[in-house]
């Protein structure tokens, strides 16, 4: 087998050296009745060519985003990632290294994590960021748990603009941990009255901006009310590119910022792996979940980096840990950091402007289709349209015409008639004028 360096000669010699007659002697501790004597019922080994053919056949049953006019967002976004990024993250020294527990020989990983933390802190205008979470949704769950630790309160208020699957993750995690989650109903236009939900029992209020429906939310009043009540504002975003144009949560008063970082450096990958961004105020740093990389010096006085504050973590604290997060999204951070270092502030702003401009153009085209209403007034690269019929069928009809048009809200929040006709539509830098015109024309046809 191509991955196994031992030859049969090696095996025989080594068994002799170990002092056993057969390999099965080494498995003697397994209860005899549970030992497998035959192969399990699965195919035998296969060469590369065969594996490639089998997997390529599966891949060819899917429609890649790049192959069609593509407007699907709602938490994951199709962006162009420079080829340098994918090349660099495949460097053996990055790809096949472990968590940097031996800092002397993993400064490569540690330094990029330090760069990543700095980039995230600057982007969000927060004091400190960690070395990543799995993704935005699980990061949001951890943020709520952290708010509970900080405030010693048990009630979390979730905006109706929060991504529905994020909400489910928070409800599951916090609920099982014994907390109360107050989730507001879906809020396509961003007009909910969340302030009245915040009280002295509230640990945190979780608001997404731009929200699930694309609406940009002014976080400042929420921060004010939360702070009045001694609660924390957890600000969430799913589209990090938006920070190139809109005011960062840090300057609006957020206490914890959680975001999905996929848009920068990472592909769509059918939903994972992604990279969760997590930042907070300096005073809460010891309540933060996840890994942290810190600066220090070595015995020769040279600057170096180490994982730090790991006394918060489960491999030290066990049942007293601040979270059960262990593995993070190392390689996805690296992709993020490289892409962001290529963009720089200048490039990110340009990219954000193109995204917004494309969305504005698309909005104009779709609004002109008879029967279509655009719900959002302030948005970045995504907005919600109300169609004259159920969005699900329209999307399927458009898919048959080779256009991937967006996400029907009903896919994530089924059974609500008032949401049945809503479609969340995104337009990033990959969309061309032709793509947008095709979409509008096809939509008109389908609705006709």
């Amino acid at each position: 087998m191509r991955y196994l360096p031992l030859s049969d000669t090696d095996r025989a010699d080594m068994l002799a050296r170990v002092g056993v007659d057969s390999i099965d002697e080494l498995f003697a501790d397994i209860p005899a009745k549970a030992r497998l004597n035959d192969l399990v019922d699965l195919p035998r080994r296969a060469g590369e060519l065969q594996v490639e053919r089998q997997l390529s056949a599966l891949a060819s049953k899917n429609v890649p985003a790049s192959s069609v006019p593509f407007f699907v967002g709602a938490g994951a976004y199709k962006h162009h990632v420079p080829s340098t990024v994918d090349h660099l993250i495949q460097r053996s020294e990055f790809l096949t290294s472990y968590t940097p527990y031996q800092p002397e020989i993993t400064q490569g990983t540690l330094q990029y994590l330090f760069e990543f933390q700095t980039q995230v802190a600057r982007l969000t205008a927060m004091d400190v960021a960690n070395a990543s979470m799995y993704d935005g949704s699980t990061g949001t769950g951890e943020a709520v748990l952290m708010a509970h630790r900080v405030t010693k309160r048990k009630k979390a208020v979730l905006s109706g603009g929060l991504h529905p699957q994020y909400r489910e993750v928070v409800e599951g995690l916090s609920g099982q941990a014994g907390d109360v989650v107050v989730a507001l109903p879906a809020d396509p236009k961003g007009t909910e009255d969340i302030l009245s939900q915040i009280d002295k029992e509230t640990s945190c209020v979780v608001v997404q901006s731009p929200n699930f429906f694309g609406q940009i939310i002014d976080l400042k009043p929420v921060a004010e009310k939360a702070h009045e009540c001694g609660a924390l504002l957890v600000a969430v975003f799913t589209e990090v590119v938006s920070l190139g144009l809109i005011e960062p949560p840090g300057t609006q008063g957020a206490d914890i910022v959680v975001g999905e970082g996929q848009s920068i450096g990472n592909g769509l990958n059918f939903g994972g792996p992604y990279v969760g961004l997590f930042a907070t105020r300096q005073k809460y740093v010891r309540q933060m979940p996840g890994r942290l990389c810190g600066e220090t010096t070595d015995v020769d006085g040279k600057r170096g980096f180490v994982l730090t504050l790991s006394t918060r973590e489960q491999h030290i604290r066990r049942d007293k840990a601040t979270s059960n997060i262990c593995t993070n999204s190392g390689l996805c951070c690296l992709a993020f950091t490289i892409h962001m270092s290529l963009l720089g502030g200048t490039g990110l702003t340009q990219l954000a402007r193109i995204n917004h401009a494309n969305a504005v153009k698309l909005k104009g085209l779709l609004a002109a289709v008879p029967g279509v209403e655009v719900l959002n007034t302030a948005y970045f690269n995504e907005f919600t349209v109300k169609l004259p019929k159920a969005a699900h069928g329209v999307v399927e009809a458009l898919a048959e015409k080779g256009i991937l048009a967006g996400v029907p809200v009903s896919r994530l929040i089924p059974g609500k008639p008032e949401l049945e006709n809503l479609l969340v539509v995104a337009s990033t830098e990959v969309n061309t004028d032709e793509d947008r015109a095709d979409f509008a024309a096809a939509l008109k046809e389908v609705l006709a």
């Binding site: 360096p5 594996v51 997997l55 599966l58 799995y134 059918f270 502030g345 402007r353």
Partner: protein, 500 residues
């Protein structure tokens, strides 16, 4: 040459991407525009390339040498897997595009599920957990949901001392009280009689046991079936930490041992790359009893192929998902890699890999046992071998020193000070990816180090490493006054010039 941080040489007016300014830009941002410029430096592409290539050269990696990190299974990461994960049909599809346009993706997840269930002898699998600890959480949430559904509310989870820290952390997160169970002195495995006593003591209040098998001492729990029976008899569930599954793939099925839930680290056993700390993937296989509680999303067999169930509304009679672990469908990129690994090995190759992993560990054991100290005697180990620091007694060399000295010899250290059940633990897992020649060289080097320590050459250890990109780093300083991001030594000058 020392490599600076990007903030020290990048410039605010430089960008390494070429983007056109949109024509006739009109903002519809509702007055939420960013006021301050973004203080993020840019790099031209050649600068970025060189910076990250140079950084990478400060890392140790599987591809550059033996990486015997016990319980971490640092095996070869085939590049075929990377290539497959990058097929546009997998890497460039959106989690929420119409299901009619991702049939192959759903089929792939279904195929991988089938492999995992078959190899573990179970009948369900929750695919979405994002890593091992997340998988534990998922498994324990399923257990909690099952208790709740049965109208029970037990408060205790039993965890042996040798367990990974994530086990008690997970139990605690869910509000359980962690009760430690005793290990047998002679080999660190669970003491069945002591366990039975503990069960009796907390009769009716035990939710589950969390056990790693093979355990973190590199030994297989011989009484595993009896342990499972005792736990089941107490109306509790058997959660197995699957971190060490690589020892027994194709040799035994956890389902046959009485396991109710076990996460599988695709980034250990099934070769998806560790990536400097992630991403991982931790699907959890479930017994019949737990299967109904598997979280969303899950796959149901349908008449025309697998059906992806994403919401409560999509469930049918008997499906009682406890909720959702993450947005979307989990770590698709890792699924592709893991399936590529499995298809490549096949049933025969997977079994052979486990046999080779165990053989390699034992080969290391017999190569070192006369000079180093085995805490539980010279019995065969599974895929990793545990030494304690008895052999360093009176040398003035600690486990940490010894580990750091290995770096100067060109090796990544083994796992140290874990498990906690032995003193100064050194846990060595060579994996099946090492050749006999590589093991011989490793053994010879380790023997040389041991003899050097015994000869009293302490400077070789206490000052180690000498030859690495950095020498020992001051971790106390890092923790005492944490510097977690770069700050300009003085106000940065911003030169407002148009970017190229």
């Amino acid at each position: 040459m020392e490599e600076p941080l990007i903030f020290e040489f990048g410039r605010l007016d430089v960008t390494g991407v070429d983007l056109d300014e949109p024509e006739d830009f009109v903002a519809e941002l509702g007055g939420n525009e960013r006021k301050d410029a973004l203080e993020l430096p840019g790099l031209a592409e050649p600068e970025a390339m060189r910076h990250y290539v140079r950084l990478s050269r400060n890392n140790y990696a599987i591809d550059s040498g033996l990486y015997p990190l016990g319980s971490c299974t640092m095996k070869h990461n085939p590049r075929l897997n990377e290539k497959m994960a990058r097929l546009p049909g997998f890497g460039d599809i959106h989690p929420l595009q119409p299901l009619s346009t991702v049939k192959g993706a759903v089929e792939l997840i279904d195929q991988l599920s089938h492999w995992l269930m078959t190899l573990t002898g179970t009948s369900a699998v929750a695919m979405s957990p994002k890593a091992g600890a997340h998988g534990e959480l998922c498994g324990m949430m399923a257990i909690k949901a099952a208790h709740t559904a049965a109208g029970r509310d037990p408060k205790i989870v039993l965890v042996p001392e040798s367990a990974h820290g994530t086990n008690p952390a997970t139990a605690a997160l869910l509000g359980y009280k962690v009760v430690s169970i005793d290990a047998k002195d002679e080999d660190g495995t669970v003491d069945l009689e002591a366990l039975k006593r503990k069960i009796a003591e907390h009769a009716g209040d035990i939710a589950a046991i969390m056990l790693t098998n093979p355990n973190t001492c590199g030994l297989f729990e011989r009484e595993i079936i009896e342990i499972a029976a005792a736990i089941h008899a107490a109306d509790a569930y058997f959660y197995c930490d699957g971190a060490n599954f690589n020892a027994i793939v194709g040799k035994a099925r956890p389902g046959d041992l009485g396991v109710d839930a076990m996460h599988i680290n695709l980034h250990k056993t099934f070769s998806t790359p560790h990536g400097g700390g992630g991403p991982g993937s931790g699907p959890v296989v479930l017994s019949d009893r737990l299967a109904p509680f598997a979280p969303l999303p899950f796959i149901r067999k349908g008449e025309n192929g697998p059906v992806l169930v994403e919401t409560e509304a999509g469930t049918v009679e008997g499906e009682k998902p406890f909720g959702r672990m993450t947005a979307f469908h989990g770590q698709m990129g890792m699924y592709v890699r893991a399936l590529s690994y499995m298809l490549s090995h096949g049933s025969d190759g997977l079994r052979q890999a486990s046999e080779d992993a165990v053989l390699n560990a034992n080969y290391v054991r017999v190569g070192l046992q006369d000079l180093m100290s085995l805490p539980f005697g010279e019995r065969p180990c599974m895929h990793e071998v545990l030494f304690d620091d008895t052999f360093l007694k009176d040398t003035g060399v600690t486990t940490l020193d010894f580990a750091k000295a290995m770096i100067d010899e060109g090796y990544h250290p083994m796992t140290m000070y874990f498990p906690l059940v032995v003193h100064g633990a050194m846990l060595i897992e060579p994996t099946e990816s090492e050749s006999r020649a590589a093991l011989d060289l490793f053994i010879a080097t380790m023997r040389d180090l041991v003899l050097s320590a015994k000869r009293g050459e302490t400077a070789r250890f206490s000052g180690a490493p000498y030859l690495s990109p950095r020498r020992r780093l001051d971790e106390t300083k890092a923790a005492r006054n944490p510097v977690l991001k770069w700050t300009a030594p003085e106000p940065a000058e911003v030169t407002p010039v148009a970017a190229e």
